[in-house]
Symmetry: C2
Subunit: 350 residues, 2 copies
């Protein structure tokens, strides 16, 4: 994607709790931004009005005489990309089928590009993060937060799949007798490799007879304890806390092994809040991948007739929690006419 010196894009990150609207320059450098609560209960029209207000206010503060490529918006899925509408979103009751793209376009007069949030984060890591570093156009980006989100970039294009959920690795089951998942299945990767998964693994670990006193106290007496609390104990050497992260790494590695066997990607990026504890879970993750993926092992440097560097790289994300917002801001350039065929588009602002 080529950016003109004086082009600008809006990125919008629509979350169930907060809404971020930001103006970026051609290098996807943040110019200015707004963050507010998402008024989910007030309905989609109220939130569209909030978005349009933010866009107008940021435009006022923008330098004069610039060219706007448009607005990229990252939304929770599932989405209907053809129609630019929302599917049935668990955290947005009553929003089913809302025409997000066209409503925002109408409210702002700017071209709007819709993407699901995990794919937007994947686009950001591809163009500006770990994918840029590795110089690849094929990658999966796994975001381990409260749940597990995933986005795929295949052959330099964001992979949507058929119902706009392409790359829902969090709900690929890795144990059909595993714990029940909110989606109706059992043993989904998300039930292990997520904040809630880690807490579940840690609570089970705290039941074991050899669990340390501080770990037991943390898990049993502090219902509000977080992955960060467990990470602190683990970093201080607590065996049970370390074992909790190792188990997360084992399950995550088992799931990634299947992904590698299925797609043989050159790069998998692991980000999200929980993934900041990389050193605590990555060794177990790599062991599990090596153990469970023939395709991964065949790419190993020790293999005689394969090249040294063609094993799947699994790397921590580089962009942090703003990846979704950055990715949204990339959408007008990636998906707009400029990105597709080089012709100019957008709106000139005087």
């Amino acid at each position: 994607v080529a950016f003109d010196q004086d082009t600008f894009s809006f990125g919008i990150d629509l979350g169930g709790t907060s809404l971020r609207v930001a103006l970026f320059d051609s290098g996807i450098k943040l110019m200015s931004s707004h963050r507010l609560s998402t008024r989910v209960a007030d309905g989609p029209d109220a939130v569209i009005a909030d978005m349009a207000d933010c866009v107008r206010s940021l435009l006022h503060a923008a330098p004069p005489r610039h060219h706007l490529l448009g607005i990229g918006i990252g939304s929770p899925g599932p989405l209907n990309f053809e129609l630019g509408t929302l599917g049935t979103l668990p955290n947005f009751p009553g929003w089913d089928g809302f025409p997000l793209r066209d409503s925002l376009q109408q409210a702002t007069g700017l071209p709007v590009y819709l993407e699901n949030d995990a794919n937007a984060a994947a686009a950001a890591e591809w163009k500006m993060g770990a994918g840029k570093t590795a110089m690849v156009d094929n990658l999966a980006v796994i975001t381990i937060g409260t749940g597990l989100g995933s986005g795929l970039i295949l052959d330099g294009r964001i992979w949507h799949g058929m119902v706009g959920m392409g790359g829902e690795l969090g709900h690929a089951s890795i144990d059909r007798n595993g714990p029940a998942c909110g989606c109706g299945s059992r043993g989904c990767l998300e039930t292990y490799a997520s904040a809630q998964g880690l807490l579940r693994l840690a609570r089970a670990e705290a039941q074991l007879p050899h669990a340390s006193q501080p770990f037991r106290e943390l898990m049993q007496l502090r219902p509000s304890c977080t992955p960060r609390d467990i990470a602190h104990l683990a970093e201080a050497g607590d065996a049970s806390a370390r074992r909790s992260f190792e188990q997360l790494g084992e399950y995550l590695g088992f799931g990634l092994a299947s992904l590698i066997s299925t797609l043989d990607l050159p790069l998998i990026v692991v980000g999200g809040g929980v993934a900041t504890a990389w050193d605590l879970f990555a060794p177990a993750m790599f062991t599990a991948i090596h153990c469970h993926s023939l395709v991964y092992r065949l790419g190993a440097p020790t293999q005689r007739h394969t090249m040294e560097h063609n094993r799947t790289f699994i790397r921590p994300a580089e962009l942090g929690p703003s990846a979704g917002l950055l990715g949204a801001a990339l959408l007008p350039a990636l998906l707009g006419p400029t990105g597709r065929n080089g012709s100019a588009t957008g709106t000139d602002v005087q």
Copy 2:
């Protein structure tokens, strides 16, 4: 792909046991073919000589004044597509790294296009089988024979992955405590959904106290029994034989659920010898997919805001055991300069 009226292609199916070489017309209609044993032990040069002999002999019988697009060859993987060489193939000891593409090109003077056999079969189902019927350019083709092979077509291109094994679903593990697999992992999909997997499931079924006398006798007294024997009993109503296929269907469905969750494909084609017993395993397979894939269920017609036909179709293969050979013959048109940019290529034969 547009075929000229008078263009021809060779398809070669290189198997560990037999070698097939066939000449096809522009509509991929078989003109004539040779089948011989693959002289694996005599080394790759001997087999290349056999291939070249077949090509020359078929050319003699071909109509005069035709245009040859080249030779497509389907080979077991892994392959290095850039170099056109073989990786380390379990059934071809001593062939490691053999430059299959260039050797055959040199021996015949024709352009050679190399693909792995599962991908060649996938290409055939895409262009001439179930993918043509469904009119899609995104599909997975699962071939359930002795093992489980798989090929992916994504956005109208054969998916290779990084080490030329992209789409080795047979070695995606679905149970990390499952039976040991030859690849070094445990619980690979192939250890359940394959001829060997079915026999293993059936042998376990025969141990159960309620197993019927005929089933017990089949499994315990006839070491050479085949999936077809079990299918015959199942079709006659034997509960244990039926249960064996149902279990295969459950495991297969569990694996396909993950594939659907990962890629959200519009079509999955299930072929191969074992898959001819579709009616015996498909109901259990569909139940498992429905149970384990949120993405599949979201595409369901009962969903309010999704369109009626955007659920993944899972269909039996349409082409039978020649899919690999047909797919090989398609390669010159798919991968050659004609397929890529419309310019003519190949060799005119007077």
